[in-house]
Each structure stands twice: as C-alpha cells, then as structure tokens.
Amino acid sequence: VTNKKLWLDRARREANDMQNHVIDEFLAGHIDRRGLLRHGTAYGLSAVLMGGLLGVSTQKARAGTPGSTVRVAIVTPTGAINPVTVADIGGLVLLQQTGEFLIIDDPDLMLKPCLATSWSANKDGTVWTFKLRQGVKFISGKTMTADDVVYSIARLADPKQGSNALSAFKGVLDPTGVVKVDDHTVEFHLSAPNGNFPYLVSSDNYNAIILPAGSDAGAYEKTFDGTGPFKLDTFSAGQGASFVPNPGYWGPKPLPARTELTFFADQQSQVLALQGGQVDMIQQIAVQGAQGLINNPQVNLINIRASTHRQVHMRCDMAPFTDKRVRQAVALTLDRPAIVKGLFRGLSDLGNDSPFAPVYPSTNKSVAQRAMDIAQAKSLMAAAGLAGGAEVTLTTEQLQEIPDYAVLIQNAAAEIGLKINLKIETSDAYYGQATYGNSDWLDSQMGITDYGHRGVPNVFLSAPLVSTGTWNSAHFKNPAYDALVASYVASTDLSVQRDVSGKIETLLLDETPIIFGYFYNYLAATAPNVTGVKVNAISQVFLAGASVG
C-alpha cells in the first residue's frame, strides 16, 4: 500500500457521499483535472485534498510590486450603491471592492472558499451546511458570525425587500430557510433539491456580500462596511470611488496602496482614457467600438470564455413558427462561424441552440454542433407547406451588436424565402413592463434578447424555457422538457447531470424554440504595465493582487 493510497483512504473517510463521488469520478477518469477542481469545490472538497489528488500545490505566490495606485474605468452605476438592489455592472463592481462572499466563483467557474471555509449537502441536495471562517472582522470593527450571514442572505431572499437577487432565490430558498446552527455554521434549507446551490451564494450572485446583521442597505453608500481587503476612502455619487487597504483584513495584505474606480458614461470615453493614460484598466469592453484595442500592442486584453449570449426566440404559438420545421429551418440558415468572426472577431464560442454553453463543464459535448445547411432548410420549409415563403417581424433592442446580428439573420432567412421585417427599438421599449401582454420582449413573434453571464445554466434553463417560466418569450410549452430540467437542477451527481444535459440539448435542437447562436467572451483591457488584476465574466474586478509599472 503506497503512501498516496493511505492518504486517500483517510481523506475519503472525512468526505461525505457526494464528495466521495467526485473523487471516484476523477479516479475513474470520468472528469478531468479541471472538472475535479470545479466539481470538487462545488461539493466542498478541501483545496488541500484536491491538491493532493492532482499532485500539485494549489498555493500560488503573489507577484507584482506593492504600493501602486490602480485606476480603473468602470461604467457609471445606474443608481444608489445599495447591496440589495444593485443590478448593473457599475454597482456590482463597487460592492465587491469592500464586500466579500461566502464563496468566490473564479474566472474558470471553479468555486473557492472565502468567508465560508467549507460546504456540503445532505444526500438529496435539500440542506446545505456552510462552515464560516473564524476571526473575520468587519471594517466597522464587529466580528463576523453566523448571524451576519443569516441576515444578509435572508434579506436577499425576501420578496418584500425589493431585492435584485430574488429571481435567483425564488423557488429555491425562502428567508426562513436560512438557519444559524452555531456562531460559525449556517444551514440553508432549500424549497427543492439543488445540486448547484453554492453558486447562488457565491460571487456569481453579486448581491450576496456579507454585511453586519441589522445594517441598513439604504445607508451602505456612507460606509461600504464589509470584510474585504479594501476599505472605502472616498465615494462621490456619479463620479467615482477610491479605496485603501483594510488594516484589519483576515487575508494577505493587498498590494495596491490605493485603488480608484472612476465612472464613465460610455465605452468610447473609457477607451480614450485608457489610450490617453488617464486610467490603467477598463472593467469591460465590447468588441463593437473597441476594435482599436484588440490586437493593439499598447493594450493588454483580458479574454475570458463566458456564457453571455443572445436568445433569438420564435413564438411556438404563432404562425409560421407553430411548425417546428420552420424554426429548425431558420436555425439552419445561420453560418455561425462566420457570424462570430464578423461580430466578435472570433472571440466567442458557438451556440448549439440550447443554454449549455461550451464553457459549462456539465455541457454534453457529444451532441453534434448544428451547422449551416440551406438545402435542408429549404426542404423543411417545403415540408411545412411554406415553399412559397412567409413573412415575419423580428423585434429587438438597440444594444451593442444586436442590430447587426438581426440583419445577419434577416439576410440568412431570405435565402429560404422567409422575409423578416426588423423592428429595432430602445431597450426600455423592448422590455416594456416585462410582463406578458405588456412587453415586446415577451409578446413579439420573433425577437433577440440579451442575457448576461451565469456561472451555472440553471436560470437559462428555467425562466426562458419551462412552461411556467417568467421570461418565456418563445411561449415554449413542453412537459418532457420541464421534467428534464427539474431532474437536471435536482441532480447532485455529475454523470447524471451530463446525461440529462445531453437529453435537453437533443430535445432543444429538435424543437428549436430559441436560437442560441453564440456565447461571446468577456473582455477587459489594461495598460501593458498592469499585472495581477483578476476579472471574471460577471464583470467583477479583484484588485488585491494588482500592481502598475
């Protein structure tokens, strides 16, 4: 018996059923190193154990010089910086400068302990137990305990709070489900089994920073009280904020002496400011309008694969899309590699008409990618009795590349005799009241909608596609699909998850209520002398390890 075997046996005794399953999967070769790290962290395997399994050290030395001032251009927050209501990338990046989450969802979608040191679920995934880090102090001086976690998370799950995170917690967690066990243990009793629950209390859910119990979210702006590596220096609404190291921080001392997050109204002024040397970094760039930064030696491009995408819905209850052959035909007209090249300079993954983006490890990659096939599309149209063509209206919003995408779809569909009239309006007009009957987004015959990155596909699988979904603009109603999604969400078993995702992908390719053409990469930009900045596809910017020069 080798040392390694002994060590592993001991580790197995300490692990619970689900953790052991992950270990089995890795040893059997069903998941790769990346998959082990990702799933291992989701089920609360310790970093030391996974490091042992991989035979590598997970500790990384921090490079870079201390003492810089790091200046970041961010998008002007749309409202007050209130941790409960923030819903925009300008606001959320401010929250995570001084606030911390139970778990960090790293850029490669792996979960890393932060204020929680470990987490694990009961057998069916309905109760999750989180162990909290000890000796963590808020900037205001109070020691963090389970009470603070219960207060912070229960508030986000409360429908009476105007919480932005409600859409994530609805049907998963009620405020009463957050239970203190002791000062350093919290249990989450879920409304339904959920194998991916840790993502909902990770940085993926950007509102979920831990705040002192009893604190007023409306007054957050005055203190930015949190447990993070930085504390607030100055905040000026509409202008910017600056931060300095928090001397009482529990983790390693942050490198920068000061960080300045300056608000910009639009991308163009951010690009100019980076080029003019007024800032060291841009929080996020879109390829449209920032072409000058791509392949520019004066700029360091941060390029991360993401699940950000556009959904092209076709109303399954409205002619001519009542016939699935017509929906399939439209999807078959698209030359996806060319579209991605044209719209994103290739910085994007292809979509296969399901929410399973290639970046998700649970995506079943054995399902073949849909490719352009005009001949088949024409014969499908003929089979549907539309050989003579048809006319539809595509409604969408004036946002980034979407109008260009709409024109590409219009041109492609013309090849099979489908005439698409475009109606392009402001985002406000497109979303309208965001309820059925009062929204072009939810009522239009055909439309294109923007969806931001999520660490797991759960929201994309349910809200826009299940029969009772609140964002079901395709009006897709399929009991078989609903059942598959329920079993995907509930499953805590990796191989089952991937098995189900294969079935979901196949079903959606056949039904094609929504075209998922691409999942484009998250891009940020820094000056060439900037190192150690960590960015994720949520648009969060972690500056503790950053240095300039």
């Binding site: 925009d88 105007g162 859409s167 109204a265 609140t470």
Partner: protein, 320 residues
C-alpha cells in the same frame, strides 16, 4: 429710458416663469409616456416583479402621477429640489456641482471662441474677397458642419494621444488649482470652438461688410476721422449688434447642450446629468436639470435683448 427698460424686464421675467412652469409640465408628461418605471430602471428588465413593486413602494414612485407631480412642485417652489430617486440623495448638490462644471467649460470655450471668431470675422470683412477672407469663411463653415463627436475624437487622438499635449479627461484630479482645471478644459472646449467659430465669424463678417458699405461710414471717412475711430466708433458698434444676440443665445447651448462632449471627455456637466436622469427615470433630478438649463436659456435671452436695447442707438431714447 430706465423706466422703459424696467417695464420690459419685469414683463419678460414674468413670461419666463410661465415658460418654465410649462416646461416642467411638459417634461413630466413626456416622462410618463416613456415605458418602464424607477424600480424597473434600477433593478433591470430581468428582475422579479415582486421586487420591482417593493422597491417602487419604498421609493414612493408607485403613487398616482398627479400626486407625484404635486409633491415635487410644491417643494420645488420653496427651493427644495427633492431627493433623487436613483441616487437616494438630495438633488441640489448634484445640480450645483454639474452647473458649476458646465459654466467652467462654457467659460473657457467662450473666452477662446468670442475674440477669435469676432476678430476673424471683422478681419475677413475688412479684407473682403481676398484669399484670407476665403480661408476664414470656408474653414469656419467646414468646422461648423463637423459634428462634435467627430471633431472631439479627432482632437483627442491628435492632441491627447499622439502628441500627448493635453489631458484627455476634462476632470482635473481632486484638489487641483484653477490653472490646472483650465488646462484640463482646453481640449474639451476646442470642439465647441470649432462648432461656434464659423457661425459667429460669419455673423460678424456680414455685419461688418454691411456697416462698411453704409452711408454713415462713408460720411465718417469723408469728414476725415482717423481709420481707427471709424472702425471702433462707427463700424463695429453697428456691425456687431446681431453678433451679440447670436453669442448670447449660444451660451444656453454651451451650458446645457454638451451631452456628447461631456461624455467623451468624462465631464460631469449638466447635459450628461440630464441624460442620465432621463435614462433612469429619475424625475426630480430630470426636472431640476431641465429647469436649470431652461432658466439659463431664458436669462441669457433676456440679457441679450437688454444688451441689444442698450447698445442700439435706434432703440435708445437718450443715445449719443
């Protein structure tokens, strides 16, 4: 004379108040036509309906429309601009800071463009049909028709990035002195100079050409007055009257209409404040911003009329 002016001023200011009241109603009514609401604007289109309703209730933005208007106007007339829906902070400091910034930028642009364009126009008129006249007229006209967002980017690229002569951001670092602030405002004011130079110079040129052609100028020359006296006392006083009106009305644009320049140069002026407020459906901020700009327009128009009256010998009872 003074009584006449006083009457005119009182009448004009009274009418202005009515104009501003109508403006506030119009902005309010227009805001209601736009889709969405404050809670939705803050939480985004994908937020849960229950959250949006709860937030609107907290903010007081779920009240009937006339009640919201009455609440706002009854406070506004007492000088209380109210709380911003989006920022959850009092509106007044935002407006004051933005107005201060806008006035600084307008001031710098004004100081550059007025002497330059009037001098250029008069010079062109005095050398009418020469090559220099053509250069001034044609280049002025060309610069005027270039949109601000084009000239701004060209100027930023050339002066800010390639040559690195001037800072790209209009906002000076906190705690900077007046000179540092002016230095930061030079580049952003250049697109405005471009925009206005051609217009003002053409007005000045046309007026001067006309005045040079007039009988009183011929008389002045023939009675042997020195050329300087002819130009300054007889020609310019008459020639620049229309120009003064034009310059004054442009002041309103310079303070309130610079959304593009303010956003490109990241400058917190009143134009971008209004744009943001409209986008967020932040009604108290929007009303206060628009009324501020409206008041400036009204005031500069009255001031221009007043100046015109004072300077125009034909409208002046006791003039020389």
């Amino acid at each position: 004379m003074l009584k006449q002016l006083g009457n005119m001023l009182a009448k004009r200011l009274g009418l202005s108040l009515v104009t501003l009241l109508l403006l506030s109603l119009l902005v309010f009514a227009g805001g209601q036509l736009l889709p969405g609401n404050v809670g939705r604007a803050i939480l985004g289109p994908l937020a849960d309906a229950a959250s949006v309703a709860a937030l609107n209730h907290k903010l007081g933005t779920d009240l009937p429309v006339p009640v919201m208007y009455w609440r706002w106007i009854s406070h506004f007339v007492t000088g209380d601009m109210g709380m911003s829906y989006a920022f959850q902070q009092p509106v007044a400091p935002f407006i004051l800071r933005a107005l201060g910034n806008s006035l600084k930028l307008a001031g710098v642009a004004f100081v550059i463009v007025v002497p330059l364009s009037i001098g250029g126009g008069v010079y062109a008129a005095m050398h009418a049909r020469s090559w220099i006249d053509k250069v001034i007229s044609i280049s002025g006209l060309s610069m005027t028709v270039i949109p601000e967002f084009v000239s701004s980017i060209a100027l930023i690229l050339i002066l800010g990035i390639w040559l690195s002569w001037l800072p790209v951001s209009a906002t000076a670092p906190p705690g900077s002195g007046a000179l540092e602030q002016i230095y930061h405002l030079i580049l952003p004011s250049l697109p405005l100079v471009f925009e206005l130079f051609g217009y003002i110079a053409r007005m000045a040129r046309a007026g001067t050409v006309e005045a040079l052609d007039s009988d009183y100028t011929r008389t002045a020359v023939l009675k042997g007055l020195p050329w300087r006296v002819v130009i300054f006392r007889h020609v310019l006083r008459n020639a620049l009257l229309p120009t003064i009106t034009v310059v004054a009305t442009q002041l309103g644009y310079l303070v309130g209409g610079l959304v593009v320049v303010e956003s490109l140069f990241r400058y917190q002026g009143i134009g971008s404040l209004i744009l943001t407020a409209a986008r967020d459906k932040d009604f108290p901020m929007l009303e206060a911003g628009i009324l501020t700009v409206g008041a400036i327009y009204v005031l500069v128009t009255v001031a221009a009329d007043l100046l015109y009256t004072v300077l125009n010998p034909r409208l002046r009872a006791g003039g020389r």
